[in-house]
């Protein structure tokens, strides 16, 4: 919690160790509750007892299938995607020293979108390992975008890397958006419809293979994220002062960029571009725990998961039996929250 009122009555603040533990415990509980409770709710009534009843053969057990095929994968997917996007948002905001940065800023998710829409428009059809061609093409798309953005960041001048990265990433984003527009233009009616729907995001994965596939890049990303919290603090105050304090800024930026891109790319390939998670969740978390990244990073991961699970729950129950795309819910909630945060800062 922010430790001061108006102008600085000093309130004692717990040591960092305690704050980390409390943060992880608190948000961890929230996330765990979301993962455990969300599959219980939905547009259809099911009986948990029936779902777990081993005596009914699986093929006949509708409740079990609703729980294990329809709901549980999507809750897990929501947790993964929400966590990944929130973490990427935190990292990009610190890396670019810009509180308005989001996982979309550098064009990585535009690359993923381009891959998916190319697959839809040109009927690229090859699926493997239970992943659809759209998911695979989406993966390829963000890999391509990552290569371009990385290349740009390697060619940077010393001392201005954040600016170059930002400019290069925004340019890649604009470029890819133009290519996306072109691909959309080539699409016929049905393909356009599918493209548009893909862009709204969907967590209804209906199986575990895409989740498992997404876990691989996400695990690598998490390993990278784990090394970052303290250095993100230092870098966000200035990359030169960070370097003067012993931070290997170049290496940190590379790890941050690759990890955030891996996480974003995997998330977008899994669920399509879900907006406003990466940009809003970090700010919401900072309101609760303050600016120290050693708190913000784990809290964002956990809160992001819970947040997207909650948004997806709303999306799939609010106009039951039909569903809204989850991207609409995150935009409806995230947009006003973001505006409020902006004006609050000013």
């Amino acid at each position: 919690m922010p430790d001061t009122d108006a102008l600085g009555t000093i309130q004692p603040r717990a040591p960092i160790r305690q704050r980390v533990l409390w943060t992880v415990a608190g948000f961890g509980t929230l996330a765990a509750a979301a993962v455990l409770l969300a599959p219980l709710a939905g547009s259809t009534r099911i009986h948990l007892g029936t779902a777990f009843d081993r005596s009914i053969p699986y093929a006949d057990n509708v409740d079990a299938q609703i729980f294990f095929v329809a709901r549980l994968p999507r809750v897990l997917a929501a947790a993964l995607v929400g966590s990944a996007l929130a973490l990427s948002g935190v990292v990009f905001q610190a890396l670019l020293r810009n509180p308005l940065a989001s996982p979309d800023t550098l064009g990585i998710s535009a690359g993923a979108s381009l891959g998916a829409m190319a697959a839809i428009t040109f009927h690229i059809e090859f699926s493997m390992l239970g992943l659809s061609s759209v998911t695979i093409a989406s993966f390829a798309g963000w890999l391509g975008a990552l290569v371009i953005v990385s290349g740009l960041s390697m060619a940077r001048r010393r001392g201005s890397s954040a600016v170059v990265l930002l400019l290069g990433g925004v340019t890649v984003h604009l470029l890819l958006s133009a290519v996306i527009a072109f691909v959309q233009y080539l699409a016929d009616f049905t393909e356009t419809f599918r493209n548009v729907r893909w862009l709204m995001g969907s967590l209804d994965v209906a199986s575990y293979s895409p989740i498992v596939a997404a876990l691989v890049p996400m695990a690598i990303a998490w390993a990278g994220f784990a090394t970052l919290p303290r250095v993100l603090d230092l870098i966000s105050v200035g990359s030169e002062s960070a370097a003067a304090r012993g931070v290997n800024v170049e290496r940190t930026e590379r790890i941050a960029l690759v990890s955030a891109s891996l996480a974003t790319g995997a998330a977008v390939s899994l669920a399509g571009p879900v907006s406003f998670v990466g940009i809003v969740v970090p700010h919401m978390v900072r309101l609760l725990v303050g600016a120290d990244h050693r708190l913000v990073v784990p809290a964002s991961a956990l809160f992001g998961a819970a947040y997207l699970i909650a948004c997806d729950l709303i999306a799939r129950t609010i106009i039951a039996p039909l569903e809204l795309p989850v991207g609409i819910i995150t935009a409806i909630i995230g947009g006003p929250v973001f505006l409020w945060l902006l004006f609050r800062r000013a």
Binding site: S43, V62, S133, L342, A346
Partner: protein, 323 residues
Amino acid sequence: MAALSTRVTLAILVVLGLGYGIPKTVRLKADTTDTSATPKAVRVKADATYASAAHGVAAQELPRRIVSLVPATTEMLFAMGAGPRIVGVSNYDRFPPEVARIAKVGGLLDPDVETLLSLKPDLVIVYDTQADLKRQLERAQVPIYHYLHRGLPDIMETMRALGARIGAKPAADAAATRIEQQLAAVGRRVAGRSRPSTLLVFGREQGTIRRVHASGGYGFLHDVLELAGGTDVLNDLHKQSVEMSTEMILTRKPEVILELHYGNSLKPAAMDAERLVWNGLPSLPAVKNKRVYLLAGDEFVVPGPRIVVAAERFARTLHPEAF
């Protein structure tokens, strides 16, 4: 203070960006897939507007140079013997084979107005929702036929109205009647048999059960399904197309799944693989009883004379024992 206005500017830019981005992704103004408010058998608006009356253009000339932007009306024109009078068709026309030799002028989303006008048409059949195109044609004083379509009966309505408009009334009426009779025959074949609840799938993401779009109890394909002896599993929703979540599919328990593939259809081996995808939901009666069918062909997308073929194929699939 300078920082304050920067942030406010940024906020405004963000809102503008959103305002641009979100509608951009929902840019299908001409969304004929969600006309849920209208009841099933509505009469099609068989309208033929003429050029501005300022020049007192005579309205009774028989069109000799027809451009049809709607594949369905192209097929109808051929069915009533007016094929030779067609000078332009849409990019999506595939049938009959003669259309390969006719000039292409774009489609619903991207009509090629230049080519269209260069063909000097004396009647252009446009989608009712192509507002921009209609304005341009009116400015060029080209007669327009507004094509509007809701359900199965509208196919015959349109044929008759179009026939009257182009002066081919006897042929058009005969063709329409023939279609009606053929459809009725299909209905008679399956009459009295139990009607399985059917999930009519228009499309889904290839290789998975994601983003399933299915008939929601409205529209010409729904009508054909009902005629062919099946019950639409989403009858109560009255929407032409619904994106179904996995949970919804499981709850509705369809007894038959009909999946339509058109355009660039898959090879047989791929079709088999696609059918097996449904095994991910083993509790569905359709999966248990192995009644998942994939149907390929573009007679399903064109609400024209070939709808009879579509109806027969549906009927054969749902009730093989009746044939």
